[in-house]
Amino acid sequence: MNDRIIKSSKTKAGDWIFVIICVVVCLICILPMLNLLAKSLSGSDFLVKHEVYLIPKGFNLEAYNTVLKDPKYLRAFVWTVVLTVICTLVSLVMTAICAYPLIYQDLKGRGFFNIIITITMFFNAGTIPNYLLMNSLGLLSNPLVLILPGCLSVYNMIIMRSFFYGIPDSLRESAQIDGASYIKILFSIYLPLSKPVMATLALFYAVGRWNGYSDALMYMKDKKYYPLQLLLYNVINNINSIEVATQEGFSTPGLNESLKAAIVMFSTIPILCIYPWLQKYFIHGVTLGAVKE
C-alpha cells in the first residue's frame, strides 16, 4: 500500500519534469521570434542603446509603416503570393498525374517509368548543367524559371502514390465496371478521397516556394521578379553597410534595425498563420513519406 503511494507520487514528479523540459524547448523556439517582434515595434532610441529584449520599448508602428509604404516590398509580397499560388497548383496537378497512373500494377512500362523517376532522386546533373540548360532554353530572367524547374518533386510524388495505394482497388474496379474512364476515376474517386494528402503536399510546395531564394538568385536576372526572400536576403545583407542605408534614406541606425525586423516579420507571418491549421495533415504526410514501400 505504502509502496504504491510512493510510486504514484514519483510518477507525478516525473510528469512535471517532462513538462518543464518541454516548456524550456518551446521558449527556445519562440524567444527569437519574440525578440524580433519586440525590435520591430520599438523606438529607435531604445534600440540604439541596446535595451530591447522581449517587450517593445517606445512602442510604435513606424517600421511597419515604412515597409507597407515602400512599393518595393509590397510588390515583392504580392508577386510572391501569386507565384506561390501558381506553383502550388501546377505542382499538385503534376504530382497527381504522375502518381496516379503508376498505381496500376499491369500498366506496360511501369517498371521503366519507376526507374526513370527514381534515378532523378539519387543523381542530379548539378548546378552548372542546370544553369546552362535554363540559359539555352532562354529562361533566365523569365518568370517561368521560378515555376517550371521545381514543378514536380519526386519525393512528394511518392508520398501521394503511397496514399493512392491505400485507397482500396475495389473502389476503382467497381467504377470501371460502371464504365468510368481512367481519367474520370482519378477525378471522381482518387482526388476527392485524397484531400488530406493534397493539403499536406500543397503546404510542402507552398512553403518550398515561399521560402526558396536560391533559384531566383541563380536564374533570375530581372530584379522585378525577385521573390520576397531574395529581396529580404539583399536587404539584410546590404543594410548592414552604412552607405547603402543612407542611400535608401534610413539614416538612423535604430530605425534600420527595427525596419529589418519588420521586414522579416512581414515575410514570415503568412506561413506562420497557415501551418498550425494543417498540422493534423502534414504529420500524416511526413509519416507516409517515411514508410515507402
Binding site: L36, L47, K108, A125, L132, P149, M157, Y182, L272
Partner: protein, 304 residues
C-alpha cells in the same frame, strides 16, 4: 506484340497523364546531364557541348585543377565537417524530443508543444540567419546584450570561425529538431501498448520502459534515417550556408555548393565547376548505395 498494343490501347489515358511529368523529367532532369561533358572539355561560349574541344590530360584537366585548388579543398573539408557536426548534434535531438513528448500525459499541452516545435521548420534560411543575427550579433544581439549587462565580454558568435560553426550548427538543430521528430513519434505510436502493460506488471519504471521498449521499438527507423544521413554526408545544400556566410568566416563557411555558385555562375568557370559538381554527385550516389548495402547487411530494412 499484339498484347502490348492491346494494353497500350486499354490504358491510353494513363499514358496521356504520364506524358507531362515524363516530359518534365526529361527536360529538367535528363537534358542537363548532356551538359555534364563540359567537365571534360574546354567551355566555349555559343558552342554545343558536343563540339567543344577535349580538355588536356585526357579530359581530366579540370578535375586535376580542382584538386590542386586551395579554395575547393577548403570547401570539400568544410562540407564534410559541417555535415558531420550537423549529424552529431542534429541526429539525436529529434529522437530525444520524441521520447520526451511521448512521456507527456497532458494531451493538449503535448499538441501545443508540437505546434511550437514545428514552427522553425517553416522559416526560410534567410529568416533563420537573420534571427541568428538578431540573437548573436556582437553589440546589439539579444544574447550579447544580456552578457554585457552582466558585465561580461561579448562573444563573437558570428565573426570568429569556431563560434560561427557552433552558431550555424545550433541554428540548424533549432530549425529541424521538431519537424524531424514527427517520424519518430509515428514510429513510437506503432509500438504495441501491450508491451508497456506487460512491463508495468513486471514493475518497470518510466526510464526502463523508455530504454527497453520505446528505443528498441523505433530502432529500425533510427537506423534507416541514420544511414540515409550518412549517405548524404557529402551532399550540400545551398540555401543554408549561403544565408549564413559572412566575409569574416569564409574559411569555414565556404562549402561545395557555394563554391560552385561563386566560381561557376558568378565567375564563369563552367568546366571547373561542372567537374566539381560531377565529383560531388558521384560520391553522393556511391555513399547512398553503400549506406543501403550496409543497412541490409545489418539485417535492417533497406532504404529501397
Amino acid at each position: 506484340m499484339k498484347n502490348t498494343g492491346k494494353a497500350v490501347k486499354k490504358y491510353w489515358q494513363l499514358y496521356l497523364l504520364l506524358l507531362l511529368p515524363l516530359l518534365y523529367l526529361i527536360i529538367f532532369k535528363y537534358i542537363p546531364m548532356v551538359y555534364i561533358q563540359i567537365a571534360f572539355k574546354e567551355y566555349k561560349i555559343g558552342m554545343s557541348p558536343f563540339e567543344m574541344p577535349l580538355a588536356s590530360n585526357h579530359g581530366f584537366k579540370y578535375f586535376i585543377k580542382a584538386f590542386s585548388n586551395k579554395d575547393f579543398l577548403n570547401a570539400l573539408r568544410n562540407t564534410l565537417l559541417l555535415n558531420l557536426l550537423d549529424l552529431i548534434a542534429g541526429f539525436p535531438a529529434p529522437i530525444i524530443f520524441a521520447l520526451i513528448l511521448n512521456e507527456l500525459t497532458f494531451k493538449r499541452f503535448k499538441k501545443v508543444t508540437q505546434t511550437i516545435a514545428y514552427m522553425p521548420h517553416f522559416l526560410s534560411w534567410v529568416i533563420v540567419s537573420s534571427l541568428a543575427l538578431q540573437l548573436f550579433a556582437p553589440t546589439n544581439g539579444f544574447v550579447n546584450q544580456i552578457i554585457s549587462n552582466f558585465g561580461g565580454e561579448p562573444i563573437p558568435f558570428l565573426n570568429d570561425p569556431a563560434h560561427w560553426v557552433a552558431t550555424y550548427i545550433f541554428m540548424g538543430v533549432w530549425q529541424s529538431f521538431g519537424w524531424n521528430s514527427i517520424v519518430y513519434l509515428a514510429a513510437i505510436a506503432g509500438i504495441s501498448p501491450e508491451l508497456y502493460e506487460a512491463a508495468s506488471v513486471d514493475g518497470a519504471g518510466r526510464f526502463s520502459k523508455m530504454w527497453h521498449i520505446t528505443l528498441p521499438g523505433i530502432r529500425p527507423t533510427i537506423v534507416v534515417l541514420l544511414i540515409m544521413n550518412l549517405g548524404n554526408i557529402l551532399g550540400s545544400s545551398f540555401d543554408r550556408p549561403y544565408a549564413f556566410q559572412n566575409n569574416m568566416v569564409m574559411n569555414v563557411a565556404n562549402v561545395i555548393a557555394t563554391y560552385v555558385y561563386k566560381n561557376g555562375i558568378k565567375g564563369l568557370q563552367f568546366s571547373l565547376t561542372t567537374a566539381v559538381g560531377l565529383f560531388q554527385s558521384i560520391i553522393c550516389v556511391i555513399f547512398l548505395l553503400l549506406a543501403n548495402w550496409i543497412s541490409r547487411r545489418l539485417g535492417e530494412r533497406g532504404i529501397w
